[in-house]
């Protein structure tokens, strides 16, 4: 099913989006007076090799066209598909290939933005929404690494204890707010306020060095990841010093 509400909220000036195989969607749209490419996953589909390779193929075709058109990803997936067959075929390579294709598009000058309008979890979340330069959460978005019941099983903690702990820290709880606190989600939009098309064209106009991954700095500012950015920066400084020590020794 195509996310018609979302599509009309983002692209009121027209589009050619249509549903494709394996719960994908693709096409072009207008935003803020410019053409954009749109790709997506529909129906909360667990991400398997078929869906991943179709999307990656679209992305690489767009990069090959060499026109630097922005790419908007509309994401409603689930976790990665969990079957023995998919793992045997190397699902990790298919998911990584999709992530690499999206990141390569960013490096090649395409502005990449994901709009999460459904679920996304674990490896499927990493391979899709988290591989774009900017991630937006809208109505219905529910990102997670793993649901609390599964975390309870792995950590061997009762679910109610875990639920209680989740109130004290955003570091492991599922949902938009905790993930925004860690820097994953850039902005949270409401479809009903009629401003999404305008917000999207503003994001597209903002083309300053988008390939600088500063999500850890964002997470520090929002209090969801207090150490990551600082630790990474300390390592970067020490790396140069370690090289000097080698020469002195």
């Amino acid at each position: 099913m195509m996310p018609d509400n979302l599509i009309s909220a983002l692209f009121p000036h027209g589009h050619t989006l249509s549903a494709g195989a394996e719960n994908t969607l693709s096409g072009q749209a207008r935003s803020g007076g410019r053409d954009v490419e749109v790709l997506g996953i529909t129906n909360s589909t667990p991400l398997g090799p078929e869906t991943a390779i179709i999307l990656a193929g679209h992305v690489l075709k767009i990069v090959k066209s060499d026109n630097k058109t922005p790419i908007i990803f509309l994401i409603d997936t689930a976790s990665q598909r969990m079957t023995r067959r998919d793992e045997m075929l190397g699902l990790n390579e298919y998911l990584a290939h999709l992530a690499k294709s999206i990141i390569l598009a960013g490096m090649a000058g395409h502005r990449t933005i994901s709009v999460l309008y459904g679920t996304a979890a674990a490896g499927a979340f990493i391979a899709t929404a988290l591989s774009t330069q900017t991630m937006i959460a809208v109505d219905g978005a529910h990102p997670s690494v793993m649901d609390l019941a599964s975390i309870a099983r792995v950590t061997k903690l009762p679910l109610d204890v875990l639920t209680e702990k989740a109130k004290k820290t955003p570091v492991f709880a599922p949902g938009v707010e905790p993930l925004a606190a860690t820097g994953a989600v850039s902005e949270i939009w409401k479809l009903s306020d009629g401003l999404c098309a305008e917000r999207l064209s503003r994001l597209l106009a903002d083309n300053q060095s988008m390939n600088n991954d500063n999500r850890d700095v964002l997470g520090a500012g929002r209090g969801g990841r207090t150490m990551a950015a600082d630790v990474a920066q300390r390592v970067e400084k020490a790396f140069v010093q370690a090289s000097d020590l080698k020469k002195a020794g």
Partner: protein, 309 residues
Amino acid sequence: MIPENVMNQPSWYESSARARIEGLLDAGSFKEILGPQDHVMSPHLALFDLPPAFDDGMIIGRGLIDGRPVAIAAQEGQFMGGTFAEVSGAKLVGLLRAVARNAGTPQEVSTVFLLLDTGGVRLQEANAGEMAVSETIHAILDVRHAGVPVVALIGGRAGAFGGGGLVTACCSHIIISEQGRISVSGPEVIETNKGVEEFDSRDRALVWRVTGGRSRVLLGGADSYVKGDIGSFRKAAEVINNNAPPLSLETLEREQGRLEHRLKAYGNCHDTPEIWVIAGLSTPAGIADLTEDDFIDLLVKEGVRHDAR
């Protein structure tokens, strides 16, 4: 009886992350960054009454291989399953960013070696761990974009699971041993979610046929296959050079073709021996039973090469 020269070889699988680093690098050349003495520890484990580690299970630094400067990171699979978490992840991300930033300067390194040994994201700090995996992937691609190869070495007890499977497949080159396993969802997770008839995680032979080093290198999930001793990993690491594929549109187009072909050719198979029959291997049912030397001979004979990733 185990021959003496084999018995005396320390095993990669059995060794600690630090022992693997020592065995891989030129003797005495390792310079650790943010080591245990700096006490940079997870701030989140106390909430779960779990003891932290002074290095958070991630050991990073610089060193030499055959006199060439390299960057190295090793996960300690015996601490919290070698998981990606806020601190362990940030150490790795910081190292990779430093390598990318210093490419072409006097501080540059020739190669990055990632000694992955991980169950994936640390669920006690799931969101921070998930972000660490994503940031690691972005940073690996920046390093490759800067012209420095990133090499994964897989053969530890924890394997390379979850986000670790994705990180592995983002590297320029993957070295694996028979004991190495690469996957996204682990057999236990699939069994818990989909039932024992989907994946019996106690059937060890099945687990290795699906995720293990021999299957991965035959199918294209790994590039170099080595015996399980540290010396063999070192020998494979020595010969890595800038012939590793650059991150480019052309490389990813070739990977697209490689993965499309695999899905078309083997998408209806249920177990790896069925794949080896279609691929025309001479001993499709007996891959697991070959000696290490015979398996390596088979790889040479079949000319197995998957250089697009």
